[in-house]
Symmetry: C2
Subunit: 194 residues, 2 copies
């Protein structure tokens, strides 16, 4: 079991003090198929138990799925509006999809993540293809999918953090800490100028 990184207590604290539902939204940057940056809001689905890995979900029909298959680096920018602090979390992304071997621990986690979703979240995975031209005849009022068995295009996305930049805008001057993970999975921290 990996020990929790030193930035985890600051992040827990921020989550505790920012309790609006949108405090669990953050922006994930990846690199598009054309090599230019892509950026979108996604929902924090918690950490993989006993690790520093961040859970997100996505649809294998989405652009980010193809982007991440091609280039696995990503950076989360997570701004907390109440406490006015930002966490930039950079790392590598792991896609856990229908083709992940069943003996992979993440495959079971994909099932559990699907089961834990709300029905409205699950419904989006059986809606018409996201990002394609909308057809007024397309049916969005479909029956909910099986809550126990993920649909094929449901994908668990895991960010394995390697670098965390924590900026607190409150305070004069502001406070900023840079955390880095070495090859032995040890985290170091240095206080830097805001």
């Amino acid at each position: 079991m990996v020990s929790l990184a030193p930035w985890r207590s600051s992040l827990s604290h921020a989550l505790h003090r920012n309790r609006k539902p949108f405090a669990r939204y953050f922006q994930l940057a990846t690199i598009g198929m054309d090599g230019i940056p892509a950026n979108r809001t996604v929902v924090f689905r918690g950490f993989v138990d006993g690790t520093n890995q961040i859970k997100i979900i996505t649809d294998s029909r989405s652009q980010k799925y193809d982007q991440i298959r091609t280039r696995s680096h990503g950076e989360i920018c997570w701004y907390f509006t109440d406490t006015r602090e930002q966490f930039r979390i950079a790392g590598k992304l792991i896609l856990v999809d229908k083709d992940t071997p069943t003996d992979d621990d993440f495959k079971l986690l994909r099932d559990r993540t699907w089961q834990d979703l709300s029905e409205s979240a699950r419904l989006q995975f059986i809606w018409p293809n996201p990002g394609k031209k909308r057809n007024p005849n397309d049916d969005f009022t479909v029956d909910p999918p099986n809550p126990n068995q993920p649909v094929d295009n449901f994908c668990l996305l895991i960010l394995n953090p390697l670098k965390v930049d924590h900026l607190q805008l409150r305070g004069n001057p502001q406070n900023r800490y840079l955390y880095e993970c070495d090859e032995f999975n040890n985290w170091s921290v240095v206080e830097v100028n805001p």
Copy 2:
């Protein structure tokens, strides 16, 4: 004079309906010097008059300055918490710094943007080098810089939008529109699946 793009009215509407100060914060993704994505919160400073160009400011000592000099593409992700809608604005970034020729219209705009900043915003540009190791002896209690004349490291950053993806989470199903700009600066729009 460029006519205003069709997504501008939706964005104005969102800005009008989301009046908290943080509604003017968005996340800007660029590509790092190492080729991996970078993502941070920046402040919307309005549009360049009569255009669709978005004003941001930065410090030439920051990482994004070097990143943008090397690769000028960026994507803004702007999520409005009250109305639950997202604008993804992709385009090319233009740096307007001390070396921009004085006969360039943007150079004058750099001066005006500096003059319009609050004193606390201006102060950050004379603080010790951002991102460098903090030295407890460093002085952050400096006298404010000249409000009329930008300091050398002050940089105006302009995003010239080429593509806008507008997602409204309210509504069942959600609504999503994709705007694109052609080489003649004409915008088209298509409704796509959320």
